[in-house]
Structure formats: structure tokens, C-alpha cells
Amino acid sequence: MAAERTLWRDVVCPFCGLACDDLAIEREGDRLSVREAGCARSRAQFERPQREAEPQIDGNATDLASAVARAADLLQDSRLPLFAGLATDVDGMRAVMQLADRIGGVVDHAGSDALFRNLRILQDSGWITTTLSEVRNRMDLLLIVGHWPEEAFPRFIERCVEPEQTLSSDAPLVRQIVRVGPPAPDGSAAKSGPPVLELPCAIERLPEAVAALRCLVNEQQLAASEVAGIPVAGLRELAERLRSARYGVIAWAAADLTFAGAELTVQALSALVQDLNRTTRCALLPLTGTDNLIGVNQVCTWQSGYPLRTGFGRGIPEHDLHLFSAQRLLDTGEADALVWISAFREASLPVASGVPTVVIATPGTTWTNPPAVFIPVGTPGMDHKGSLFRMDSVVMLRLAALRDSPLPSVATAISQIDAALAARKEA
């Protein structure tokens, strides 16, 4: 018998921070195929085979109730449980927060290093930002700082930079695109898309380039003829374009800025935008949000008052971006139990920690040593419904269940562990 076919329209893709919501996806039995829109990444993720998976204890198959009970044992014995990875939907994070609050855990997302390169600037000086539809309709100059965004955010250019129409004109808006960053490995500027003025600069020299650009925007004198390998004439040209743009946008992916003190470069960009807004409009667009980083941070903030890297070990929420870094807590041995959550992509368990580990993740998750407990979960937006935030932190989108799945959600798995612990406490 032929499997039943269903065509889903306006499907939200949960696999990067753009959260494109215009995909058409066909289901045939358990198989999903991207029929319209989408990108290489969305196809790879939506079309991955639905794997059979059972919960495991120490690598041996078991049932969900036993896995939940074993996870509860580990957490009950733990003095500082760590909830990390946190690639989950809004409801998954709600469940994590409730459990962490109850048992004195710490919460941190795999993408937090990049998150805090930006958040520290919001907390120290603030910023002027914009959102994807504003970029799509108003932007007349895009400055990309760092790598061309095609790999990390495949449809950014298509959806936000090259629409056929905008609110201000029936024809495509004439837009200048400038990139300050390392040349693509093959030497080409950008693999596809619109013409770009490239100012080549190594990633770790971006601080110099951005600082010089800010000087030039403010019409200060620069004695150098070259900064970070870029001729000052090129930077001066860029400064002039920023000053004469009506709605400039400066975009960067903080995940690319892997050099020490990268937050200071974000701060310089923020200051640059503030300078420009004295006379014209310009706004920042942080390219971020993959694995619902923004949504998980939002939930953490509205429930605890703090962004990620928050701990409940002393009964009250406490936040410190160094103290409560998951990597640091594992490296120092302060965390004595780890709950690793990864519900979106099939990934490997990155943390080779010595502590008892509960993995709550997609069935295709791989590891070198089996964790103490493995609870396979469905992917929000494929196997169950849920919600997530887009990179701009404004738009929260509902994710649909596209097929039937026997797998629980992260929220269900965590809530069962929470309920088991609560029952023991009462008993």
C-alpha cells in the first residue's frame, strides 16, 4: 500500500536563526521532503531518515520509565547538576528551568560564548538594533563584518537583502553591500548573490578595522595608510557610504568572532551605530539564534531575571558568565552531573566529560562513550509541535508536528524526571 502523502505549506524551519517559514514539505509515511523554498541545511535535516531509537542505560536499551528513573537517581545524588547544550524549543526550556530551579542546577547553551559577545554589550552600553522585515524593506546599505553569511544563514541574502519588492518601491531597492572580513577560501567574494565591495581583513584583525572605521565615520584623522591590511582609502569610502546611507545595517555573526576580547569589537560596532544615528539611521543586526539560542535565553531571562549561565544552587537565581560556563564547570569538576540536550540536529556529543551524563537528544546523536542515560527525543517542528525564536529576538514562531513520532519531546522527558524527583521528595 502506498504511504499516505501530505503537503504542508508555510512550514517553519527550525535549523538556523533565520527560522524561514515559507517551506513546503511533503510527508510520505515517515519521510519528509522539502518541496519548495528551503536550503541545503533544511533539506539535510528535514529529509534525514526517522531512526528507531530506544532509551538506554549505560548503552543498553531500556524503556522510558526506567531511563527517567535512572536520570532522577543521578540528579538526586548531584550537588551541582548542569543542564547544557539546551538545543530545545521554548517548552523544553520551560521544563528545564523548573527542574533546575527545584534542584539547584545551572543552565547554559552550547552557543553561549557567542551570545555573550553580544549580550555583554547590551548590558554595558546598549545598542540600536533592527529586525529581519525592517532589513528587507528599509535597508539601503548592508555592512557585513566577518564571514559571508551564506553558510551559517543560507537564505539571509535571498530573504532580507534581495527581495523583489519593498515597501518603498515596486522595483528591487538599490542596495550597497560591503563586507569587511576574510576572503572566502576559494578566493571568490561571495559564491552567489549581489555584487559586494570587499575589504579583506583577517578575522582577528577586525578590532583594528572597526576601530579605524569608527574614527573615519567621526571624521577623525588617521595617520596610517593601511589598517588591518585594508587601505585607509577603502575604509574612508565605507565610512562615507555609512554616513550617507538612509538606513544602514551592520550585521555580524558573533560565532565567527573567536578572538580574545571580541565583545569589544561588538561594542565598537554599537558605538559606531550610535554615532551614525546622530544624523541618519543605522542599526545592528546580530546574526545568531541557531538551535533556538535566542529563545532559550529569552525563557531563562523571563523566568530567572538573568540570561543563560544562571545557577540556582543557593536557592536564588545567580548569574555569572564565567562562573556558570558549562565548559568551566565540567573542566573544573564542579558540576557532578550533566544533562545534555540537543533536539534539533543530529550531532555528536561534544563534551567528553567524566561526570555522569544524561543525554536527551535526537536519535542520531553519536558519542565515543555511551552516556549513563540516553533518552531519544523528537525534533520540534518535525516530530512534535513547539515554538522557537528567530535571531532578532522579536519573532516567536509556532513549529508544527509534520509526522507521527513515538518519541517524547524534551519538555516531556524533563517533566517526567522532574515529577519523579518531586515524588521522591514527598515520599
Binding site: 508555510d10 517553519v12 517559514d21 515559507d22 521554548v90 520551560r94 523548573q98 530551579d101 527545584r102 547590551l122 548590558q123 552600553s125 546598549g126 545598542w127 540600536i128 538594533t129 533592527t130 529586525t131 529581519l132 522585515s133 525592517e134 528587507r136 524593506n137 528599509r138 530573504r159 532580507c160 527581495p163 523583489e164 519588492q165 519593498t166 515597501l167 518603498s168 538612509r246 538606513y247 544615528n277 541618519t280 539611521r281 542599526a283 535565553n297 529569552q298 531571562t301 523571563w302 523566568q303 530567572s304 531575571g305 538573568y306 540570561p307 540556582f312 536557592g315 536564588i316 537565581p317 545567580e318 548569574h319 515554538s387 529576538s393 522579536v394 519573532v395 516567536m396 514562531l397 509556532r398
Partner: protein
């Protein structure tokens, strides 16, 4: 099914004209029921002899959830370091004084005798997020006002000379799609104009690109709300917030509504003159006079109370302008989705500062000079003027002339001298306070079974011991009931409940989805179907029970 008797309280229930008469109240299944008569089986009697009984209080304007508030929390982690609340098995942990976490927001309101609070500035593009935060806000009923008036869709309609009927359909659709209970307008046209680099927008200035004046926007939206039969009038944050001389804009805005019902929010920030050496003066008397003779207008105050807070507003134009006053020195602004914007600027109101001190006095002048308590609501525009936890203090300022005059002596002496406050004799009665904080907001929002203690009303009830110190009295009610359940005792939360979400469901022509879908497909980065927040997702978690309020259309 249990029948609870609240015995011997003094009922202060202005909606039913009751002013302190002693009577018993009976509660069953979450509502107030008639006296079951002699011999009825009472399951529980609570002796409240001589205590003051009011309906649960309702905050008509409090920024308690959504994008800008969460940004404020993220930005102001110092607030959370100073004010942390431990969880205790019953309550979740959290904290923050002026940027409280969602759980703590609910606990504090309930402990203070409030059983509902309304988020007054929900950006439609952020609606799902706002509702997600409110779903995590326990204890109280909630509702959101959708912000329109700087959205490109509306401005295009007005620029293209759209019929009023089409505007009505759009507003109706938007209120339903965003699960809202009222319509908010913030700096009409101004947020959009700021995206085109305009730094101010006068009431009769054509906006950049669209050429639409704020006056036209106010008129169109006031009419839409009226014709759709939405109970609460346009909830309007006028142009020129905080600008000396803006009281004339406020009067002009009243004219712009052409006699239709209008709610002017945080009026204190819109009541400034330009007199005196500092070119900053109170226009409270002039405005109160206009309001007293204009029965179609209601107001809330946005009272400031001295201390550190954070301002969070959809008004990017004004927040950008005020960034130089940021304390501590950090601030953010965001342009949002061809919809609106938001700006977060921390602020410390100082009593030794002339302007801040006069702002304090202006708010109180307005509260005391607007005569009809049914048309003025007690707000601090939380957290913009002060956190909502100052309400008991504010009530004392209104009820206790001696206390008010003592406080007046502590502020900047030039401001005190410039204010008429010291000469105002009026003291609010308990009855009037019950109007301000219960009966009037419920009536204005169309919450027919809230804000009063009549038979059939939802059993949201607050019981106080009468004390001469009104601040102490209102800070720690003896009992708070929500839907008939005891949730707080002596100012402490004793049980956790989840309130309802209030929404309106106006009738409109679904045909508006045609042009809207075209607009979303061509310009937006979200599809229409994904933008819309459905009833199913609201009620999914079993927390956000929807209460749908009928609308009374005035035209076909």
C-alpha cells in the same frame, strides 16, 4: 462545590453603590452567589468582621511581559542582583524590583490584592512572545493591548485613502490575530517616522514617505475601535511624550478623536508647560479642566516615584531622544518588523532634581484635579514611572493630605514652590480608591463580572484591615481570593493559581485577509498563517484560559 462565607466584612463596592455597609459574602465555584438563606450548609466561614472588602484590584496599564520588558531584564541584571527572591517549593525563585520575573510579578500583584494586570504595548510581531511570558505569570488575569498606528500596513491604507470600513476590518483582524483585549497607539506615526530619520512629529505634520498626520491616525483608529464596538477606547500614548509644552499636543489629540471615546495613558508625561525660568512647568490644571469637561476622555496617570527604574516603551523616537538621560549609562532602541519599535532606557528619578520633582507633583495634581474617579486610573506605567509595588504608597499620597504635604517638603524646593499641590485639599475616600483601582478599570475594559462584588461576579476579592496608615493597609491585605480560592494571606502568597487571558472578538470582514496575505507575502518575513496566534496555542498549556468579551458594534 464548597460554599464559603466571608462573614461580617464592610463592603466597599462602588459598582453596586455600596460604601462600607456590613454584610456577608458567599462564594461558590469561583463566583459570588446569593445568600443561601438560613440553614444552608456552609463549608467554610472566614470571620472578617469589621474588615474592608473590595473586589480584586485591576492594573489597567503595566508593562509586565513581552520583548521590551525581557530586554530590560537582560540589561538590568543589577536589579536582579539586588532583589532576588528564593523559591520555596510553592513559589518559583526569581526577583527584580523594577524588572520582576514573570513568576514574581504574579506573586507580588496577588500579595498586594491585585487580581488582574494588563500589558499595554504589545507589538503585534511580538504577540506570541508576550503571551508566552504572560502564560508564565501566575496568580492574576491578564490581557494585552495590540499596538498599531506606526505600522506600515495602516499607514499605506491611510496614504491610499482607504475606506474606514477597511481600517475597521484590519483593526478587528489584528486584535483577533494577536489575542488582544484593546488597541494601543503609541506616538501615532512617530515610531514609523523615526525609521525615516524624523526626530519629531507634530500632530498635524505629514509623516515622512506616507504623508499621513498623527491627527488622521488618531481619528481613524478611534473610529475603528468605536465602530467595532470594542469596550475600551483607543489607549493612546500621545505624540511628544516628555517634551516641555506637550500639553497642547495632548489637548489637540483630544480634538483629533472628534468626540469619540479616548483613553489618554500616562497623562503625567504629557502635561508639561514651558513657563518659568527653566521653561518646564505643570500644565496639570489646564489639562484637568479640559478632561473634566470632556466626558468621552478617560486617563491613567503614570505617576513617578523617586528611585531607580527602567523605562521601556514602544516610542523609539522619544526613547532615542531621552537616551542622554540614561542612568546607568546604557540604553537600547529597536526598529521592529515594519510594525513598531521599542526602546529601553534606565532612569533614576531624583527628588532633588527640579524636573523629576515637578513630574512627581504633576502626577499627583492630575490625580487630585480630575474630578470624576470613574475616568482616572491609578498607574505608574510600571516600570516607567515606578514599579507597581509602590501603589500602596501612592494610595496613601492620595488619601492622606498631611502625608502628602510632608513629602512635598522633601522634594526640590523650586519644584515644590512651582506646584499647586500644597494647596490642594482633596483626600480620596476608600470608596473613591475602590473606583480608581477596581470598578473603573473593569468598566472601561468591559470586564462585566470583575471589579465588583455583586452576585454573579467572579470571586476576585481583597480583604483589608482598615488602618490609618493607608500604605500599610494596602500593602498587606489580610486575604486575597482569586476565582474564589484563597491565594494570599497577610501579604504572603499561600497558593498558586493561573488567571485567565482576556480577549475581544470583534466582528469584521474576513476578506481583509486577501490584501493582508498579499502584504505579508510581498514584504514581511513571516507568513500570515504563522503570524496569527491561535486559540489552540493560547490554551495549549492549560494555563491561559481565554475569556472572550463581546463587542457591541455601533454601525453595520
Amino acid at each position: 462545590m464548597t460554599l464559603v462565607k466571608l462573614a461580617g466584612g464592610r463592603i466597599v463596592d462602588p459598582a453596586n453603590g455600596r460604601n462600607g455597609d456590613a454584610a456577608d459574602l458567599y462564594l461558590r465555584d469561583g463566583v459570588i452567589v446569593p445568600d443561601p438563606g438560613p440553614g444552608a450548609a456552609i463549608d467554610e466561614t472566614v470571620d472578617i468582621t469589621g474588615k474592608i472588602v473590595m473586589a480584586g484590584a485591576i492594573d489597567i496599564h503595566s508593562h509586565i511581559g513581552g520583548g521590551k520588558i525581557n530586554i530590560a531584564r537582560m540589561m538590568m541584571i543589577e536589579d536582579h542582583r539586588k532583589h532576588a527572591d528564593a523559591g520555596d517549593g510553592l513559589r518559583r525563585s526569581g526577583g527584580g524590583l523594577y524588572t520582576p520575573t514573570t513568576f514574581v510579578t504574579g506573586y507580588r500583584y496577588a500579595a498586594m490584592g491585585y487580581t488582574a494586570a494588563f500589558e499595554p504595548a504589545m507589538v503585534p510581531a511580538n504577540a506570541r512572545h508576550a503571551h508566552a511570558e504572560l502564560a508564565d505569570t501566575p496568580m492574576i488575569d491578564k490581557g494585552c493591548y495590540a499596538m498599531l498606528g506606526s505600522d506600515d500596513f495602516l499607514l499605506r491604507m491611510l496614504a491610499n485613502g482607504a475606506e474606514q470600513q477597511a481600517i475597521n476590518d484590519y483593526v478587528g483582524w489584528m486584535l483577533q490575530a494577536t489575542q488582544s483585549v484593546a488597541l494601543k497607539v503609541v506616538n501615532p506615526g512617530g515610531i514609523n517616522a523615526f525609521k525615516f530619520n524624523a526626530r519629531n512629529l507634530g500632530l498635524d505634520t505629514p509623516s515622512p514617505h506616507y504623508g499621513v498626520t498623527p491627527r488622521r491616525i488618531v481619528a481613524a483608529l478611534a473610529r475603528a475601535v468605536n465602530e467595532l464596538g470594542i469596550c475600551h477606547p483607543v489607549h493612546l500614548h500621545c505624540n511628544d511624550l516628555g517634551v516641555p509644552g506637550n500639553w497642547e499636543t495632548t489637548v489637540g489629540t483630544i480634538d483629533a478623536a472628534e468626540g469619540l471615546p479616548l483613553h489618554l495613558t500616562h497623562l503625567q508625561f504629557h502635561s508639561y508647560g514651558t513657563e518659568g525660568d527653566r521653561k518646564f512647568s505643570s500644565a496639570a490644571a489646564q489639562l484637568a479642566e479640559v478632561i473634566n469637561r470632556t466626558p468621552s476622555v478617560s486617563v491613567d496617570i503614570g505617576q513617578i516615584i523617586f528611585g531607580q527604574t527602567v523605562t521601556a516603551s514602544g516610542d523609539t523616537m522619544i526613547q532615542y531622544r531621552n537616551h542622554r538621560h540614561a542612568h546607568p549609562k546604557k540604553w537600547m532602541c529597536m526598529d521592529i518588523e515594519c510594525d513598531a519599535g521599542c526602546g529601553v532606557v534606565p532612569f533614576r528619578y531624583r527628588d532633588e532634581n527640579f524636573v523629576n520633582a515637578l513630574q512627581w507633583a504633576i502626577g499627583l495634581e492630575l490625580l487630585l484635579l480630575v474630578e470624576d474617579p470613574w475616568r482616572v486610573f491609578l498607574t505608574t506605567d510600571h516600570p516607567n514611572g515606578a514599579p507597581f509595588t509602590v501603589y500602596p504608597h501612592l494610595i496613601r499620597l492620595l488619601m492622606d493630605r498631611g502625608f502628602r504635604r510632608d513629602m512635598l517638603k522633601t522634594i526640590n524646593k523650586h519644584a515644590a514652590a512651582a506646584s499647586t499641590l500644597g494647596g490642594i485639599e482633596r483626600e480620596y475616600s476608600l470608596y473613591e480608591i475602590a473606583i480608581l483601582t477596581r470598578a473603573a478599570p473593569a468598566r472601561s475594559l468591559g470586564l462585566l463580572d470583575r471589579g465588583h462584588l455583586g452576585v454573579g461576579a467572579v470571586a476576585d476579592i481583597t480583604v483589608y484591615t482598615e488602618r490609618e496608615n493607608r500604605e500599610a493597609m494596602f500593602a498587606r491585605p489580610d486575604y486575597v481570593f482569586k476565582d474564589g480560592r484563597l491565594i494570599a494571606r497577610n501579604g504572603e502568597v499561600t497558593d498558586i493559581v493561573w488567571g485567565a487571558t482576556h480577549v475581544v472578538r470583534p466582528e469584521f470582514d474576513q476578506g481583509i485577509e486577501g490584501p493582508l496575505e498579499d502584504y505579508f507575502n510581498r514584504f514581511q518575513t513571516v507568513r500570515l498563517g504563522n503570524f496569527r496566534v491561535t486559540d489552540d496555542e493560547m490554551e495549549d498549556e492549560g494555563r491561559s484560559r481565554l475569556v472572550r468579551h463581546p463587542c457591541r458594534r455601533t454601525t453595520p
